[in-house]
């Protein structure tokens, strides 16, 4: 039996806030986060009937993570060749934000999309390594190695974010 459209509407209303929070960590920007979630939900809507026996949330998140990596690949050329320095980590309303928050956002911006995705999946979404591998379409071993390198990089960029002040690699 097809899931009625009302179910999808209820799903969107219930899950959008959480999805936008995850997307915000992935993109570092409110508008891009909204667009990312919107596009992922559109794809979920189109697959809604097929998702009746599985988790729509897992599907939406999987689409969202993959869309974000795709966007980064396509968008970085524009950032490189523009005459304005890429400054996606800065915005006009951030002067009053905490130093830690700014530092974390900037540090995440330094990671590759896959590294950022693994960090968000493991330490924000709190999924297992197996679930992260399923979401990203990579092996558990790759999740482990990507996480390890991402944490090393975060420690190098901003050791205070991980309580590693004074630590040396």
């Amino acid at each position: 039996m097809d899931r009625p459209a009302e179910d999808f509407d209820a799903y969107v209303r219930a899950r959008t806030p959480a999805l936008v929070r995850t997307a915000y960590l992935l993109t570092g920007d409110q508008h891009r986060a909204e667009d990312l979630v919107q596009d992922a939900l559109i794809k979920t809507y189109r697959a809604w009937d097929r998702l009746q026996s599985s988790s729509p949330d897992a599907y939406t998140r999987k689409v969202m993570y993959h869309l974000n990596i795709s966007w980064w690949r396509r968008g970085r050329s524009a950032e490189i060749s523009t005459d304005r320095p890429p400054d996606g980590a800065r915005g006009p309303d951030e002067a009053g934000q905490s130093v830690t928050r700014l530092a974390l956002r900037a540090a995440l911006h330094q990671l590759t999309p896959r590294q950022r995705a693994v960090i968000v999946l493991r330490y924000f979404d709190d999924v297992t390594e197996f679930e992260a591998a399923e979401t990203l379409g990579i092996s558990v071993g790759t999740v482990k190695s990507t996480t390890s390198r991402a944490l090393l990089k975060l420690r190098a960029i901003a050791p205070h974010l991980l309580g590693m002040e004074g630590a040396r690699r």
């Binding site: 969107v12 891009r32 986060a33 795709s70 524009a78 956002r105 991980l162």
Partner: protein, 403 residues
């Protein structure tokens, strides 16, 4: 250690403003449904009708079926529905440098994935649609599915063509974007892959192993012959680049360019970017449209190289082009692009930098280059002005800056 990271992520994520996307999602879904209906109605209707006779009648005549073969009862059989994301078929060795991670062999995909070895898998991105049509003029139909070799430094989503016979059997025709040597050809990401008229057309920009020196955008067309893909139209070789900037003719080459149409939300970019091949200074191509840093789809862009000149940057000659850029969905603007040499290979004009893009009401009237500086004569809302730009080669922030 990670508890501090968890707390930091939760704190940062809480900065995202709550929003109701319900209306936007429904509006976007309806837009896609309308687009798909417009693009796919004819083929879908014919295939859904299940009449192979009608399908063959409407199919292009290129490489049509052997006329000596009489129609059999099976011609009215409904073509099988096959879910390639959950099917078993042979995937040839992955082209490019991914052959070791994704060797050839029969693979059983489950939900679009199959492990090839520890740490590597073949992966069908669920956001990319499977193309369906005819490539061989025989009963059954062909599908083109995008498959990635997901490993460290994974590949792009390259297209693989397979044939689905009337009995549901899947046979592999081969990777689409490889040349006669088996070398991977890099697809232009802004150009659609089109499966129509009995063949598949892709736009490629060079051989993977030879870029950036052989950057040369081309359309190549393939069809199935004797159970394998063969090129049926388009060039078979790429133009070779040069290290001599003086030999570069920006009016007759493949240009990679990006407009800079001002900052978007959160410091992101608004732009059109893409590859276009010029002939006598003119060209047209699909470009990626970037709005607020997000790729929102491809747009046909027409370009005209109005002027070329040379300016010295970092002790080397750098070709510069003044290009009128007219997107199909917006007004014309003029961009000044400096084509620097590739830092690694040394090939000339392989590293484009957008110096400036005219804004609404602005006209670039002249461009001169001297002593590492570009000087632009402009009018802005009827008022004449002179602007000068110099390349800042600081590795930490290399860019053209206004002086």
């Amino acid at each position: 250690v990670t508890e501090k990271l968890r707390a930091g992520l939760a704190d940062l994520a809480a900065q995202a403003a709550p929003i109701d996307l319900h209306r936007r999602v429904h509006k976007g879904a309806r837009r896609i449904e309308r687009r798909n209906r417009a693009l796919g109605f004819t083929a879908a209707a014919v295939l859904a009708a299940g009449s192979l006779a009608v399908y063959v009648a409407l199919r292009p005549t290129v490489a049509g079926p052997d006329p000596s073969v009489s129609p059999s009862p099976s011609v009215t059989t409904r073509l099988p529905e096959v879910d390639l994301r959950n099917a078993t078929f042979t995937v040839p060795i992955y082209p490019g440098p991914w052959g070791a991670a994704c060797p050839g062999g029969e693979r059983t995909f489950v939900d679009g994935m199959v492990d090839t070895q520890p740490g590597s898998k073949l992966y069908m991105n669920p956001t990319l649609e499977v193309l369906r049509g005819d490539l061989d003029g025989q009963p059954g139909d062909e599908r083109v599915v995008r498959i990635q070799c997901a490993t460290e430094g994974g590949s792009d989503d390259n297209p693989l063509a397979v044939k689905v016979s009337p009995d549901g059997a899947i046979t592999t025709l081969g990777w689409v974007n490889v040349d006669a040597d088996g070398e991977l050809l890099v697809l232009d990401p802004a150009e659609p892959i089109e499966l129509a008229a009995g063949s598949i057309r892709v736009f490629v920009i060079g051989r993977y192993g030879d870029l950036p020196q052989n950057l040369d955008k081309q359309a190549r067309t393939y069809a199935a012959r004797n159970g394998t893909l063969a090129q049926t139209a388009g060039p078979t070789t790429f133009e070779q680049g040069t290290t001599d900037a003086g030999a570069i003719d920006l009016r007759n080459t493949t240009l990679y360019l990006a407009t800079n149409d001002g900052p978007g939300a959160g410091g992101s970019v608004n732009a059109y970017l893409g590859f276009v091949k010029t002939a006598a200074g003119a060209g047209s191509a699909n470009f990626e449209k970037i709005v607020d840093g997000t790729d929102v789809g491809s747009v046909v862009v027409t370009v005209a190289v109005r002027q070329t000149l040379i300016v010295r940057t970092g002790g080397r000659e750098t070709p510069v082009a003044v290009i009128d850029v007219k997107p199909a969905d917006g007004p014309q603007r003029t961009v000044v692009v400096a084509y620097h040499h590739d830092q690694i290979s040394g090939y000339a004009a392989r590293d484009p930098w957008t110096v400036v893009t005219s804004k609404a009401g602005e006209t670039i009237t002249s461009v001169t280059g001297d002593d590492g500086q570009l000087t632009l004569g402009m009018t802005a809302n009827g008022v004449a002005a002179v602007r000068a730009f110099r390349f800042n080669s600081d590795p930490a922030g290399a860019r053209w800056v206004e002086v």
